[in-house]
Subunit: 226 residues, 2 copies
DNA sequence: CATGTTACGAACTAGATAGTTAATTAATGT
DNA sequence: ACATTAATTAACTATCTAGTTCGTAACATG
């Protein structure tokens, strides 16, 4: 079909045009939300015309879904590179938490898209078949770490993989997604460099502490001195 | 000005109309986002006409800001009722976490508005003078609990009040705000009753565990057996 | 009860916005 | 060289949407 091995200087290049539309559209959707983004605006930010958007994607909604699909798959591929299996349970989960942190830090546009998609009750994600079972790999990993940690005695709290994933994600997500209202209300920019490292350590310590079971009433700390 | 002590059956009632507009507008903005909400739609959902929206609020944006102001202040007033001061540090912070959880659980429309506002980089909140220093009371409370806990030896981790607040909020916020994408990806509805109680306990234990310092590398658990 | 003011409704408008039509030019295969 | 298909452009349209105009009826006040 359209498969010349990248003859870089062609005047007409379906793949390139398509990619450029996706890129600009992603930026615009992330900036303004689904309803707030303008098809005309997206077109004006490229050398292509609006017609091409409809030529390749059919409608604003389908374009938006394509953007979501691309963003999600990109992000999951990045996650796959992580190897924490060789680490001891405590270090494994701490590292995973910190990597998740980095990940959220590095893909802010993606975070915004997720937030936007939640406002729309994930109706577009549900329309996409590509994005159905994209969550499982992380859960498998966490599951293995949890079992290893319980077996070694490092983890005391009986935890569910999904819950732990949620705990880590929530912290990382919130810091990026809610930086603006949080900043406006509490006068602190969580996303700023000066807080980054401390908060990064914090996620790791949080999960580890939780799994070690220091939170439950029947496991008081060892050096208690009341 | 317009101050009859609620003569319930008046045909014209500025306060009532204004209140109704705000109520419907809040629902619509929370549902569809700022750009997605339609002034006409808001009008059609009431017995009042669109004209009244402009009569009382001037513009779509000012209406939206009014909605935000109302939602935020309502929510902060609810928070003020909480009394955890008489509790011991560990129970105080755990209770605060669980109350924050309940609070998020009970005000989902508000959560959505916050999420929406973050997509717009909090530009509307910043335009409002009402919403400037609304965050402080919670921070004071957490600060006191932290100091008490450190003094009593219950808390080992040196933590900042804002960080702790963020940690609690992120968990509670995420569960509600991201329920849809999370559900779509991991097949679990975090907001459902069946997970509610477990996750509620989880926030409490998480904060307590973190503050007890079980997460840092130099504080291994007491019954360690590797 | 006359008069001014406040609250309200119906219909209108200018500009924006998603989506289209139809003609045109570049690449490709034969 | 030529016909076919894929990629692209420019101009157009129907509809939607925030915001307005203007008239009117209820209420308060002297």
């Amino acid at each position: 079909m359209t498969s010349q091995p990248a003859a870089a200087e062609r005047q007409r290049d379906a793949d390139r045009t398509k990619a450029e539309i996706l890129e600009v559209a992603r930026r615009e959707f992330a900036r303004r939300g689904y309803a707030g983004a303008r098809v005309d605006e997206i077109a004006d930010l490229m050398r292509t015309t609006k017609r091409m958007i409809y030529y390749y994607f059919g409608s604003k909604e389908q374009l938006y879904i394509a953007v979501l699909e691309q963003a999600y798959t990109e992000v999951r591929e990045a996650e796959r590179l992580v190897d924490v299996e060789h680490l001891a349970p405590v270090e494994a989960i701490r590292t995973l938490a910190e990597l998740t942190f980095d990940h959220h830090d590095a893909h802010r546009e993606f975070i915004k898209l997720v937030a936007i998609e939640n406002i729309h009750q994930a109706e577009h994600i549900r329309k996409s078949e590509v994005l159905a079972n994209l969550g499982t790999p992380v859960l498998d990993l966490i599951g293995r770490i949890l079992r290893a940690g319980t077996a070694s005695g490092d983890f005391v709290t009986e935890a569910d993989a999904i819950d732990v994933h949620m705990m880590i994600s929530s912290f990382c997500f919130f810091r990026v997604a809610n930086q603006h209202t949080f900043g406006a209300l509490f006068g602190r920019d969580m996303a700023a460099q000066e807080h980054r490292d401390r908060l990064r350590r914090m996620v790791g310590e949080m999960v580890v502490a939780y799994l070690r079971g220091a939170g439950s009433p029947d496991h008081p700390p060892d050096q208690g001195s009341r």
